[in-house]
Subunit: 351 residues, 4 copies
């Protein structure tokens, strides 16, 4: 049994971790650390978990944490976790961090995008980007994992095979992404109130969303070039789920070859043939948010538009699972030598 | 042209007043007073109104208000408006107040329910409860009108004919009411965030919702007795609209007579025959929220349940219109000698 | 491993069965029978299940069914399953039926309410009403189980302790229930289209919903008297979840004793102390739909209203789980001698 | 008073026409023609309109129509209206058609896209595309108007200024559009049921949505070139409203000039300076669906992304108003010599 604790347990990522770990056969939750709810049962904050997880939330006590836990997930507001992580690591705890702090290979990009000093270049260099489909080997021995952002997970999984196979022109990528509201976390903010968001739809963070740099970093790594792309996120009136609709120009070579949708699907299937959590859609079907909500799957569909010589990629995940808590558990499974899908085989809800 | 201003203009009641008055042929908005948004255009706060109402919000200046406005609507958080209203009245302004302060005939009930000192017994005694269907004559000459609560409007309109005609036992009334989220106003509160309310349903304020006393007061007045009833409100995942489903035992006399649904419908139709905004449903149809949302109508349906000897009444309104801003305009029309439905004849949205 | 098949597998009850059984450690799905989708993979109809359940749907073939399955769940439109069930039973298969056909102890009530001939009085008399909290012993040896209706499950669990302990007057019960839209099944009907139901709320089946008779039957059995009550269902704009808000008069004895909310909670806790799936709410908290959605739990809260001398009971379930597919699996677990909560311990989704 | 009738009055476009015309000071509804509801009051089909429009629906009777109506709106399923329109025109009636039939300047494109014979080339050549912002002069004398599609309206209004001012490369346009569900009309179809669409999000009609050709036609006309673009529509879980998020490469000239967001906004403001219904967003604000829902406004925002050298345009309309019924009334106002915004000045709902 793996002993695990969560720091920042009462946010939505914490809630999801507790929820899915309640059915995980090999991980046992130890400490749920939450400054705002010390002394309160987790199930009093989230009554959905009554009888399932009645652990009393506690304040951070490093000694107790060290004694009880091999793994710690930090699910804290941006900028808070970095103060704790070095101590955890020094005490031999393996850390999965949900902030952006340790996601960047080039610290200067992090510092520019997040407008802050990084402070831990050594830790950065050993940190592993927690996208198992691309960093599985590194995860096996990692001490510090940076759980990827939800938009990056959705976008990278969708784009990687096309870029790797040089089907599309890397300079022509346009990502339109749509997220459910839970992506913003548990918010005390008029802008996130039911009345302001129900039946509404809007773009936000146009040209300057911070996940852009994370997507560009990973796709650049993957291709060996420097990728710059357009990323425009939107907020839609549902709680969970995410979709990226991606357009990119076919390369001249592909145009000349007259590449077909079927051929691209085959390439994608080959690329992901060993990936349990990536489901390349068959010809004639495309992803829908309801198919992945509640699951750790990423559904990816592709269509060649011969007329305008573009590839359209649609990628869908549950932002709280494959986009966050589920992916963290996937990484922990790998780090702990368990089958990667242990405790994560539940399907989407559809309803 | 009637000159009107709003104090507390940037809440949802203010928004609705501005929206519906933009099409009112006889009322012109003068000052939109909002502490939090002084100097900001109303249409910058609510861009839906751009080109329709670009008035710049201002701070409260009694002199300017007196010069510019015959009517003032106070749409302030509970307890705030009472400090301003006496001054407005002294300056000859007619006031429609959206708080509960001046709704009570018996100040001691107000003080008990709202746990506060009233402070203005004289004003209370001249204040008129702004439900035009029952206080039309008093409204004609009123200086101070207390706009009724949304739940009371919905419940009283549904129950009045049955009580007045002694169809039901007044001690057996059970009201289950359901409100859209806008009833709570513009809220910075996790409990009202999209993620906590979408796809959720809950009862709240069970046994102690403050509107209970308001409903009981008005129904007691109407019947001359002392009515005590059960009122249980619920919150449903939509922005606007309200429904009350009311059960009450038929009186022995009615049971003996074998009263039918058709007969009760006829009584209701007779009771409301001169009321433009009350639509008694035909046999076989019952109200739905979508039929009244966006309109100032109250839809009321009744069914006799012979088997268990009860009457079921279903009443539906738009909580922001007939339950608040629309009803205020209806009252102002009466106070100003205009046809009561001036500027209020728009139908429900359905979609 | 228990071998199980579903007849009528592609409706929403079938979908939920497949979804939750995909994580059940002791039940294996064999045949998914669906007239409309013969030859099609289940996961092509519901892509959320791709990689989880790729069984090809087949037509009904009794021989194959008998060879492959010990248990069969019939999830067919009303009136269809009765033609198949006798054959299944004759072949030694245990049947859990989702229709109302075998739910009635008194066939004449069934025939009156459903306006049809029953036809199988012998089977009726051996059929067990599949509410484990009340029929656990009978379920252990049952061959034919009638899975209860969702409204009856929600209402009976809420009312049973109060009736059994004679806290409330059985002639005064008024149930207002609210269901998510999935309760109506997979519907090709304008009335169930997104545009007609989103942001809407309505009562339906007032005075004549067929579940009334089922609730009355079970509560009458429980108390030994003849209970008649008011049951008014409503449709709310969410996919899954159900709540019943129940009002009833306290008995004279309880009024005299001055019974308190705390005391009623204790009675409820004692009543359900051995029930894994019933969670009596602590003082000060009441059920919300989001706490049970996605789980097989029933959350029940009670409040005494001293002022009007009534008890208010709020009961919440997921209509597709404790109200249907989950409850069926709970019954099968019992019939198969497994721990009752096997494969059903997942918590609610909250988000 | 202009006398107007609707053929196909009981679909959603008909409903919206009836709803908004109920407040129009210069148009009076005469006949509401609906095959399925002959003899039924419009307000019995849509009870939201009770007391507002109680006209009894009738079957098509050309003689009566000719006697009663100067204008007829045909809001029929695709392919049906063409059989009626020639007769209406011969009888001197002016027709606004909601189908795609008369929207195409080049009949061969229509025939290819809609896979049907056109049949009325003469009528086609005199038909006017009913987008007042671009065809105002032609509308004044038109006999036959083709009401534009919702996606084309939203997209063309967003793109026209940038194309006309040669800010963007016409070969690089990528439109991602999102529609509320009402765009599909009143549907008896499992795929449009509440349970299949609530909390879901999907792309559809990828590479082959028929509105693509309509957008391309109009933008080609406007620029004098042949524009081919990517258009990918999505379905989001709300009833009404539409947004297009458009990406296109800046032209080399604009890149060289270092064009700024402010400059593009100024160009857009200049382009639309006389247009009541187009609201170019100020720097720092972008359209949201809730700002236009319930109104005939189109909100358009632009941002230059210097980094990747693209222009991003966001355009939002209410698909049922500016995208359909509202635009039809706008056209009729012009045809009748009325101020263009007569009866259409209502703001968006926000809530």
């Amino acid at each position: 049994m793996i002993q695990m604790s969560i720091i920042g347990a009462t946010g939505y990522v914490g809630l999801e971790l507790v929820r899915i770990l309640s059915s995980h056969p090999e991980i046992r939750l130890q400490k749920l650390i939450s400054k705002s709810y010390v002394g309160k049962k987790f199930s009093d904050i989230y009554p959905s978990l009554r009888g399932i997880c009645d652990i009393v939330c506690s304040d951070l006590n490093i000694n107790e944490l060290v004694k009880s836990s091999e793994f710690v997930v930090t699910a804290l507001p941006h900028g808070v976790s970095k103060g704790i992580i070095p101590t955890l690591l020094q005490n031999g705890i393996k850390v999965i961090d949900h902030s952006a702090h340790f996601r960047y290979k080039d610290i200067s990009i992090y510092e520019k995008v997040y407008k802050t000093k990084h402070g831990f270049p050594d830790l950065q260099s050993e940190s592993v980007y927690g996208l198992p489909e691309f960093y599985r080997e590194q995860l096996k021995d990692a001490r510090l994992v940076a759980d990827p952002g939800c938009y990056p997970t959705c976008s990278i999984l969708g784009l990687a095979p096309a870029l790797k196979s040089k089907i599309i022109d890397p300079s022509s990528i346009i990502i339109n992404a749509i997220s459910g509201v839970s992506g913003a976390g548990r918010k005390e903010d008029v802008g996130y109130s039911f009345c302001e968001l129900d039946s509404n739809f809007k773009a936000y963070g146009i040209t300057n969303h911070r996940h852009t740099s994370e997507i560009e970093q990973e796709l650049s790594c993957l291709t060996g070039g420097k990728i710059e792309l357009s990323f425009t996120p939107h907020l839609a009136p549902f709680k969970r789920g995410m979709m990226a609709t991606i357009h990119a120009n076919l390369t001249d070579e592909m145009i000349k070859k007259g590449i077909t949708t079927e051929e691209v699907i085959q390439m994608y299937e080959a690329f992901y043939k060993n990936e349990y959590f990536v489901r390349v859609q068959h010809l004639g079907t495309m992803p829908e948010v309801k198919n992945v909500v509640g699951s750790n799957f990423a559904d990816i569909g592709v269509i060649v538009d011969k007329r305008v010589k573009r590839l359209i990629i649609v990628s869908a995940i549950d932002n709280l699972l494959k986009g966050s808590a589920g992916q963290a558990v996937q990484a922990i499974n790998i780090m702990a030598g368990l089958p990667e899908n242990t405790g994560l085989k539940f399907p989407g809800m559809h309803l």
